[in-house]
């Protein structure tokens, strides 16, 4: 199990690096047809994915914690 997890993570690191390299490659080979300025940045999607994911989790959790999440019998009680 331990070794398997290590292999999986190795695969992940390789694919992360590959996707970034591919991004740079695609940029230099002028294969992009950007509609917006940020699409020209070779690693824009990587950064957006990473930061976007953190924002989604933190913001939704905050919203739920302070407002929307209630105990399971809320509708029976109220």
């Amino acid at each position: 199990m331990e070794i398997k997890m290590r292999h999986l993570f190795l695969m992940l690191y390789v694919s992360l690096a590959a996707s970034v390299l591919a991004g740079i490659l695609v940029y230099h080979l002028h294969l992009l047809h950007p509609h917006f300025w940020w699409e020209k940045l070779p690693v824009f999607s990587a950064i957006y994915g990473f930061i976007g994911c953190i924002i989604i989790i933190v913001a939704s959790k905050a919203l739920g914690h302070h407002w929307l999440q209630k105990e399971e019998d809320y509708y029976e009680k109220h």
């Binding site: 824009f44 976007g52 959790k61 999440q69």
Partner: protein
């Protein structure tokens, strides 16, 4: 030439034979109906029956069209029939006749909506669709299911009344019941359009009117929920494309909807409710696409193609996802993330089939979500809607985060030891998942099949280097963020308030008002009526009979009406009070509905 046959009618009439069949014969018959409908669709595509419209009949002086056949109706009809075949396999082990009947009526009426060429036909099938889908929820037979189904039908009846009112106003204004794209603008002269629009976006589950979806679908039966995922919302997308292409407000509603589903999915603990919020999110892309679909522009055609293509793909992968989670519920009886985990070793096949659905919905290259979702996103880029583009891409992140990571992680892994016994689901369920997963991959690898069906000619290359790299980066780095924060994503034993609060809590107050103060008042009135009856006493009535009734009878041959039998009245009132109030509400609603239909029709006829 052979007469055209309505594919919906194959389901609607074919369903009537289900109760008389049993065992293997019934199972074969259940699969035969979608197969026949599929062959019918192929024959229609090939033009064997000629070109439409078909089945035009006269009703009360209006020309109804039951068979409008064009590229748009055909692409939706194809996916509905294909999906119904896969779903029927998934439900093959169910012995309860009623569930199959409800499902087939649901599919048949949806096809009725798709081929409806006029507004009366649309309204008729729209209502059959609502009622038959409600039954799929009620067949779960739990208290929660009855409640959710009841709220579901109330919302849809409201939508149905809006539709009918809109249709009647439209008819008065234009004198035509043809179902074409509606006039749109600001002002009271567009009231008919607004009402019809409202009915359509209620069925498309656009917030704040879409809470019924996440409220009701997770309470349905395991197999019923799989049917529910496909038809109501996607037929709403179809009618929106038909009636309101290029209406700008839809762009914003759609983009908000895509993110709205994502936010609620973070907070959900119920596995099928989480997926239900992702229906809302994915339908958001389609609604957005409809909004951008301005006639006669390249970007508009791309948007409409994108909306139709995404509906097609979405039906397949969402059914697959619901099948996977349904399998967990079927074998463990549990549906909450807090009560699941560690059961991967018991059901690896289900897990991997589910993951194909998860990769598809997330839009991984080589899976069908990628070839359709990127069309809508590209359309937003062609229109230069930068904020919309960012919102749609952001929703992609959330989609992978929940359906691809949080949900399978929480349900199958998350704990070292399994929380309960589990096993692979029955063979028919696995087979259904296998076929659906195959279709998801096939369309991802070879999108030309799908693109050839779309309403407009497709000039789009999904596997351009830029698209593939951007999507891979987006999803891989989403995984990194998930792995770092996965501690925050454990399920919590809570529910999440949605806009259904606005009718659940005040609704409860109304019922309390009816049951307590109103009934107290009624009792007070009853008592006094009874006391008056008692005042006359037992000695009084024989005297009435002797001195009033008998002479009346002799002179005019009449007797006092039965109505004066107070004891019977008292018993009747008591009986009514003993019944449950909520069911009486349903009858009252039904009666009001029928009355309304009657009144509106008399207005129109005059």
């Amino acid at each position: 030439m052979i007469e055209w046959l309505h594919p919906g009618l194959i389901f609607l009439l074919g369903a009537l034979l289900i109760p008389v069949l049993k065992g293997k014969g019934r199972q074969v018959y259940l699969l035969l109906l979608p197969a026949v409908a599929f062959i019918d669709l192929i024959l229609i595509s090939k033009g064997v029956f000629g070109t439409g419209p078909f089945w035009q009949l006269s009703f009360m002086g209006y020309e109804l069209t039951l068979g409008r056949v064009d590229r748009l109706s055909m692409v939706f009809a194809y996916v509905f029939v294909i999906a119904s075949f896969c779903m029927t396999i998934y439900a093959l082990h169910v012995s309860e006749t009623g569930q199959h009947l409800a499902a087939f009526f649901y599919v048949g009426s949806t096809l009725g909506v798709v081929f409806a060429g006029d507004l009366f036909t649309l309204f008729f099938f729209w209502e059959v669709m609502a009622w038959s889908s409600m039954l799929l929820i009620w067949y779960r037979k739990t208290k929660a299911a009855y409640g959710a189904g009841f709220r579901f039908i109330m919302v849809h009846m409201f939508g149905g009344i809006c539709l009918l009112a809109g249709v009647v106003l439209q008819l008065q204004a234009t004198g035509s019941i043809a179902f074409e794209s509606f006039e749109w603008g600001l002002g009271s002269e567009y009231l008919a359009s607004y009402l019809i629009f409202l009915a359509f976006i209620i069925n498309a589950a656009v917030p704040p009117l879409g809470a019924w979806l996440a409220d009701a679908y997770p309470e349905a039966t395991v197999t019923g929920a799989v049917f529910l995922t496909a038809f109501t919302t996607k037929s709403a997308i179809y009618v929106l494309i038909r009636g309101f292409p290029g209406v700008e407000v839809l762009i914003w509603l759609g983009a908000i909807m895509a993110l709205y589903g994502v936010v609620f999915a973070v907070l959900e603990n119920d596995i099928r409710r989480l997926l239900a919020y992702h229906i809302i999110s994915q339908v958001g892309y389609m609604v957005c696409g409809v909004g951008m679909g301005v006639f006669g522009t390249a970007a508009g055609e791309m948007a409409i193609n994108g909306a139709a293509a995404h509906a097609f793909c979405h039906i397949l992968y969402k059914a697959l996802l619901f099948m996977g989670m349904g399998a967990i519920i079927e074998v463990t009886g549990r549906s909450k993330l807090t009560e699941l985990g560690g059961i991967y070793k018991y059901m690896p096949i289900t897990f991997w089939l589910y993951m194909i659905g998860a990769f598809s919905i997330s839009g991984f290259p080589l899976f069908n979500g990628f070839v359709s979702k990127t069309m809508v996103v590209t359309a937003s880029a062609m229109w230069h809607y930068s904020i919309i583009w960012l919102m749609l891409e952001g929703a992609s992140i959330g989609t992978f985060l929940h359906t691809g990571l949080k949900l399978p992680w929480g349900a199958w892994f998350a704990r070292k030891e399994p929380v309960c016994e589990a096993r692979e689901p029955p063979k028919n369920m696995l087979a259904a998942m296998g076929i659906t997963a195959f279709l998801c991959t096939l369309l991802g690898v070879y999108p030309k099949i799908l693109y050839n069906m779309l309403p407009y000619p497709v000039d789009y290359v999904p596997y351009a280097a830029g698209h593939v790299v951007a999507m891979s980066q987006l999803l891989l780095f989403t995984f990194v963020a998930f792995w770092l924060l996965k501690g925050m994503l454990h399920g919590t034993p809570t529910i999440t308030l949605d806009t259904d609060w606005f009718y659940r809590i005040p609704g409860k107050r109304v019922i309390w008002f009816c049951e307590k103060p109103l009934m107290a008042f009624a009792n007070y009135v009853d008592r006094n009526v009874m006391r008056m009856a008692g005042f006359f006493g037992n000695d009084f009535w024989p005297l009435v009979v002797t001195y009033v009734e008998n002479p009346l009878d002799k002179a005019f041959h009449v007797r006092l009406p039965e109505l004066l039998n107070f004891k019977e009245i008292h018993d009747k009132i008591k009986q009514i009070k003993d019944r449950e109030l909520s069911y009486n509400l349903l009858y009252i609603l039904l009666a009001m509905f029928v009355l309304l239909v009657y009144i509106l029709f008399t207005v129109v006829v005059e």
